[in-house]
């Protein structure tokens, strides 16, 4: 009869008890209280500023007085298709595509090894090895690369030691890729972009691989599929959403970056550096805003293409 006298609730405070019981019964109220602060933050601060940006992209910039008036116009968007601006967009876009493809090709084997062969300790080591570069300042890393890629740098030294300097010079003479030195070539810029964004590709692919049960691969082999067929028909389709998730990071981060194009590679603006210049030194906020919309639109197009390719069928 001991149980009859014991209070069932763990708290004796009647107010707290009333509160927890009410929240337990009215789960909608609980959800409301739980989600209001983040939704306010997300809605007002994030979406609000995004809409403000979108709105400002329709403002008018007077290039004579260098001032912005809030008369609405499509001129800024029309200006995006001017030859010089289109050039900037295509230059950035092609770099983003190249960096994304390279990151995917490098990340997949690393992630695959981590998932399938790594012991617990090895996995921990890989996680840290992948994340460690993200802990260091991004600008420091980029400056470090300017040193690595310079003509007195370690990369040139290595290439000389291997006797490959003539090969490098030939590569650097190629149009679109090359330049005077690695540090001022698109190739160098591409290497730095790939290095900096690689962790953002490895981690989602690794997470996707982790979710593929081993017995699906065994079932595929059991049914007569050679390893290459198993990869093409089972493993890759199942991991594709992870590759897409990673590529959204590498793609959008490259589209929006304004540091690396300033420090490494040839002259010529990127979307990021263009926005930086427009809103900083020139004060053409409306055109800067219009340029900022470009990556957003490109990402939407990319997602639509990925969806059509069946990227999300396995989700």
């Amino acid at each position: 009869m001991q149980y009859a006298t014991r209070s069932l609730s763990t708290t004796s405070n009647p107010v707290l008890r009333w509160l927890s019981n009410t929240l337990y019964r009215k789960s909608n109220l609980f959800l409301f209280l739980l989600l209001t602060p983040p939704l306010l933050w997300f809605g007002v601060v994030y979406l609000g500023s995004l809409f403000a940006l979108l709105w400002q992209s329709f403002y008018t910039f007077d290039s004579f007085s260098m001032s912005v008036s809030n008369d609405l116009t499509f001129d800024n968007y029309r200006a995006l298709f001017d030859a010089t601006n289109l050039d900037i967009i295509l230059r950035t876009l092609s770099m983003a595509v190249a960096v994304t493809l390279a990151c995917a090709c490098i990340a997949f084997p690393i992630a695959y090894y981590m998932t399938r062969y790594g012991s617990r300790a090895e996995k921990g080591f890989f996680y840290i090895a992948v994340m460690l570069p993200m802990w260091a300042s991004y600008i420091v890393k980029t400056y470090a690369w300017t040193v690595i890629l310079s003509q007195q740098g370690i990369l040139y030294w290595c290439i000389n030691q291997l006797g490959l300097s003539s090969a490098l010079n030939q590569v650097l003479q190629l149009p679109a890729i090359g330049g005077n030195t690695l540090a001022t070539s698109n190739l160098g810029r591409f290497m730095v972009f790939t290095y900096i964004w690689l962790p953002f590709m490895i981690l989602p692919i690794q997470a996707a691989l982790e979710r593929v049960p081993t017995n699906l691969l065994q079932a595929s082999a059991d049914l007569g599929a050679r390893p290459a067929q198993t990869f093409r028909k089972v493993l890759f389709p199942l991991v594709f959403p992870g590759v897409v998730a990673g590529s959204i990071f590498t793609f959008s981060l490259t589209l929006g970056d304004y540091i690396i194009p300033q420090l490494i590679g040839p002259s010529g603006l990127y979307i990021g550096t263009m926005v930086y210049t427009m809103q900083g030194s020139i004060g053409n906020m409306p055109l800067a805003a219009a340029f900022t919309v470009v990556p957003i639109v490109l990402i939407f197009i990319y997602l639509a293409l990925a969806k059509r390719a069946g990227a999300f069928d396995a989700l």
Binding site: P213, N215, L216, A219, A221, D222, G224, V234, A314
Partner: protein, 337 residues
């Protein structure tokens, strides 16, 4: 009859040599072509590892495995004429049911139309002809089980490996699938190798059963012999329920200390029968099981279980807990261990 699968002194070790875990330890068996062969044992007894050795997902550390006379060690799974039905089905979640079933054919280069035609036929054989366009995630457990079966059988394997295929199904469905599997086995005439920890399943379906314990084989025999003539106390205990009588009690009952086993259904309440073994104890527990009642009698601390059919007659005279009861059984039913 030809031998489908032959293990000669096969061992599978994990880990460093000095402190290796022996998942399979010196196993020798041969499975005849067309046989329904079960591998029975508790979890961790090595039965699944043996199946994986046949499928090719694992390689033996020692010994040889022959599939239809051809050495299989070193051959990858995709070059073996066996197919597996996995415990949790392992259906490809990104393909619809028809593509799942056609998978084996399409990777072997069968033309698309032909592959689909045969896959549709295989699906209709497991009564899922209408489900080809669905994704595996939209099917029930029993339906997924059938898809897995169709996906394996469409390749016309010479040996079908089944890894606890009914483990995730509820009792009614399991019984129904057992029947269907047996019918299928008869119809196809191919070798079935069936891994299970459910002794009832193994006994009711198989031609022969291998009982595994700690990586070793305890006994390979027909279900009837396994049940009535267990060779080891492990088999006596694991297959069906059995009273394994230890040395001390055996000495008290039979006069010599040879341990033996006796099935609960062979024990009667003593009623002046002639030429029987008998022993008196105290009723410790009575469990009601619907068609039968199980009575446990304590003798010097050891429990002997007996089973009574619940007829009008016996229910009226069911003993009470604490009551003295004399049990008896024909000597011929005792199995010396």
């Amino acid at each position: 009859m030809a031998i489908a699968v032959e293990f000669s002194a096969v061992s599978r070790h994990y880990g460093a040599e000095d402190k290796a875990v022996k998942a399979v330890d010196d196993v020798t068996i041969s499975v005849a072509e067309g046989e329904f062969f079960s591998m029975l044992g508790p979890s961790g007894s090595g039965k699944t590892t043996c199946l994986r050795l046949i499928a090719g997902f694992e390689q033996p550390s020692l010994g040889s495995i022959k599939i239809f006379g051809k050495e299989a060690a070193g051959t990858p799974p995709y070059e073996r004429e066996v197919n597996t039905v996995f415990q949790d089905y392992a259906l490809f979640p990104h393909m619809n049911v028809l593509d799942n079933v056609a998978y084996g054919l399409s990777v072997k280069g069968v033309a698309k139309l032909e592959a689909y035609k045969r896959a549709e036929h295989a699906l209709s054989q497991v009564a899922l002809g209408e489900y080809g366009k669905r994704k595996p995630g939209e099917l029930s457990g029993g339906q997924r089980q059938r898809v897995a079966l169709a996906r394996a059988l469409v390749n016309k394997p010479r040996v079908l490996l089944l890894d606890e295929p009914l483990g995730a199904l509820d009792l009614k469905l399991r019984e129904q699938m057992q029947l269907e599997l047996k019918t299928l086995h008869k119809k196809l005439g191919i070798t079935f190798i069936y891994v299970t920890h459910d002794q009832g399943e193994a006994l009711s379906m198989s031609d022969r059963v291998a009982v595994f314990n700690r990586g070793r084989i305890e006994q390979v025999d027909s279900p009837r012999n396994l049940y009535s003539l267990p060779k080891t106390s492990f088999v006596a205990d694991f297959v069906g329920t059995s009273n394994v009588v230890n040395r001390d009690l055996a000495e008290q009952i039979t006069g010599n200390n040879q341990p033996f086993s006796i099935r609960p259904e062979h024990i009667n309440i003593y009623d002046n029968q002639k030429n029987v073994m008998k022993v008196t104890g105290e009723v410790a527990d009575i469990q009601y099981h619907g068609a039968t009642s199980k009575i446990e009698v304590a003798i010097n601390g050891q429990l002997l279980a007996m089973v009574l059919s619940n007829t009008e007659n016996t229910e009226a005279q069911l003993p009470k807990i604490g009551q003295k009861l004399t049990l008896s059984w024909p000597q011929s039913r005792m199995v010396m261990l």
